[in-house]
Amino acid sequence: MMENENLADSKSGSPDSFSLPVFTCVTLFIAVWVTYSQYLIFTVVPNEVTMGAVQRIFYFHVGSAFATYAATACLLVGSLGFLTLKSKNFDALQLAAAEVGLLFCSIVLLTGMIWAQSAWNIAFSFKEPRLVSTLVLWLLFVALVVLRKFAARSDAASFCAVFGVLGAILVPVVVYSVKFLSPVGQLHPVVVEHDGLREASFRVAFWVTNGALVAMALLFIWLRKKIASLEEKNL
């Protein structure tokens, strides 16, 4: 059980420290939180009248988008930290954030396409600013992961840090693209700002799911960062 020894090898005060009991408690707490969010989505929230059952995708589609933004925030911290301090800890953080960002951004795109196919009868439109900007963000995450895999180790960290800052700049573009561009011809809804969640159960399920998925993304980043640090040590 070398990994357990490694994982439990906590040096208090070290940024690399990792406590197995704390990790287990946090994981259990998040697992219960995610399960509760699924219970709300599938048993408490009523069917939406115009779209029916498929509208329930909304909860984990938007939650995954929030998780992507959280991963991008970690990516920005890791990238800036690495560019300024050249610390391996920040390098591990940006690696972890890029992978988790790619995971959740892929979920956003795929669930969005499935929902769009039902609601708009078209899976993807290049005329939609939010869809296109999210696709660009996804491509950036892909570039980061591919760079890590194939570039020389010494170059990859610096290139990825620069790409990471670019990714963080893209997030406001994704968020505000639907607001700043002309609404004529746009299909993507702006639900929360337009007071679209009037029923209390919709709002509760929405925020509980958002919180659960952001917490899950941060947990994945934490664990992936630890694995990256251990891999670096074992080299």
Binding site: M1, M2, E3, G52, V54, I57, H61, I114, I227, N234
Partner: protein, 42 residues
């Protein structure tokens, strides 16, 4: 007699597909992390 009947469209397949994609992606990533940990163990 003036009962309003609202017909909700049957979009269960779309919901099921979206849900399956979500959990397959999450499970796949957890599995990947597990494989990486196993490799570290060796």
């Amino acid at each position: 007699m003036n009962e309003i009947i609202t017909q909700v469209p049957d979009t269960f397949n779309g919901m099921f597909l979206g849900y399956a994609v979500f959990w397959c992606a999450i499970a796949g990533y957890i599995l990947r992390l597990g494989v990486k940990l196993k490799r570290l163990e060796k």
